[in-house]
Symmetry: C2
Subunit: 164 residues, 2 copies
C-alpha cells in the first residue's frame, strides 16, 4: 500500500466515523467540540452534517483555509493544556460529540495531546455523548464502541459515555 493509498484510506475512515457519529447524535442535544482545526477539513464536514449545532473549535494557532475558520465566539485559541481545563465547568456533562484530531508528526506531542484529551474531555460529555479520536486513549470511564462498517480497527477510536 503506497502512502497515497494510505492517505485515501485514512480520510475515508475519518469521514465514515464522522458521518456515523453525526447520525448517532442527531437526537442528542448539546454542543460539539472539535479539538484541533488543522486545515479545517473535518470541521467543514461536521458543520455540513450538523446544521444548527454549536461547534466549538480548539486550536493553538489557526492555519485553516479562510472559509473553514470558525466564528470568533466558537474558536477557543491556545494550548490544550490551558484551554481544556478552563472550559471544564462551562461544558460540564453537556457535550454530545467531541472529535479529537490531535496527532502530529511529533509522537511525543501527540501523546501529550492524547493525555490531555483523555483527562479533560470525558467529564464534559453528557451521558450518551461520543468521543472520536485517531489515537487510542486511556478513558476507563467511557465504553469503547465498534468501528462503523468499512473502517479498519486502529484507524480511529470511538468511545461513548455510558447513559446510566
Amino acid at each position: 500500500m503506497s502512502r497515497l493509498d494510505s492517505a485515501i484510506r485514512r480520510l475515508q475512515a475519518q469521514r465514515a466515523c464522522l458521518d456515523h457519529a453525526a447520525e448517532a447524535i442527531a437526537a442528542l442535544a448539546g454542543p460539539v467540540l472539535e479539538l484541533g482545526l488543522g486545515n479545517g477539513r473535518t470541521y467543514d464536514h461536521l458543520r455540513g452534517r450538523l446544521p444548527g449545532r454549536e461547534i466549538f473549535v480548539f486550536e493553538r494557532e489557526v492555519a485553516a483555509h479562510p472559509d473553514c475558520v470558525p466564528p470568533a465566539l466558537h474558536l477557543i485559541l491556545g494550548d490544550f493544556a490551558e484551554t481544556l481545563p478552563e472550559v471544564g465547568a462551562r461544558f460540564a456533562a453537556s457535550v454530545s460529540l467531541a472529535h479529537a484530531d490531535v496527532g502530529s508528526g511529533d509522537p511525543a506531542a501527540s501523546r501529550r495531546s492524547a493525555g490531555l484529551v483523555a483527562r479533560f474531555v470525558p467529564p464534559m460529555l453528557r451521558p450518551g455523548g461520543l468521543l472520536l479520536c485517531e489515537l487510542d486513549l486511556e478513558v476507563p470511564e467511557l465504553e469503547r464502541l465498534p468501528m462503523p462498517e468499512g473502517v479498519a480497527p486502529e484507524r480511529y477510536f470511538y468511545y461513548r459515555k455510558p447513559s446510566a
Copy 2:
C-alpha cells in the same frame, strides 16, 4: 461537498490517473519525471506501480516523509525555472511519463510553474509519452486524452505526445 469530501475525491482522481498512466506506459521504455515531490505520496505510488523504472524527481526543497525521499542521483533540486532548461538535452525525447503536481496555495506561483512545465516538458517526452498535470496546460504539440473512467474532467489533465 465538504472539504473532506473534496480531498478524498482529489486523491482518488490522482490515484486513478497515475494507475492508468503506469499501465499505459508498461511497454514504453524511458524514464519517468515527477515534477514536485511534496510529501512524497505520489512518488511513493509511482515507484510501487513501476518497479525498476528510473524516476527522476524535481523539487525546490525536500519536505517529504523520510522514506519517500528519492536517492540523490534521482533528485534534481532547485527552482523549475533553472532545473527544467538544464535537463532538456539529457532527457530529450526520452521520457515515457511526466507527472506534474505543481499547484500550490499561491495561484500566481502555480501559473508560473504550469507555464514552465508546458514549455520544457513536451520536448522531453518520447513519441507516445504521457504528461499528467493537475493544472490545464497550453501544450499545442501534445494531444489531450480523455480522463480514465470515474475521474471527473478538470480534476486532472492528461496529454500524450503523438507517435507519428
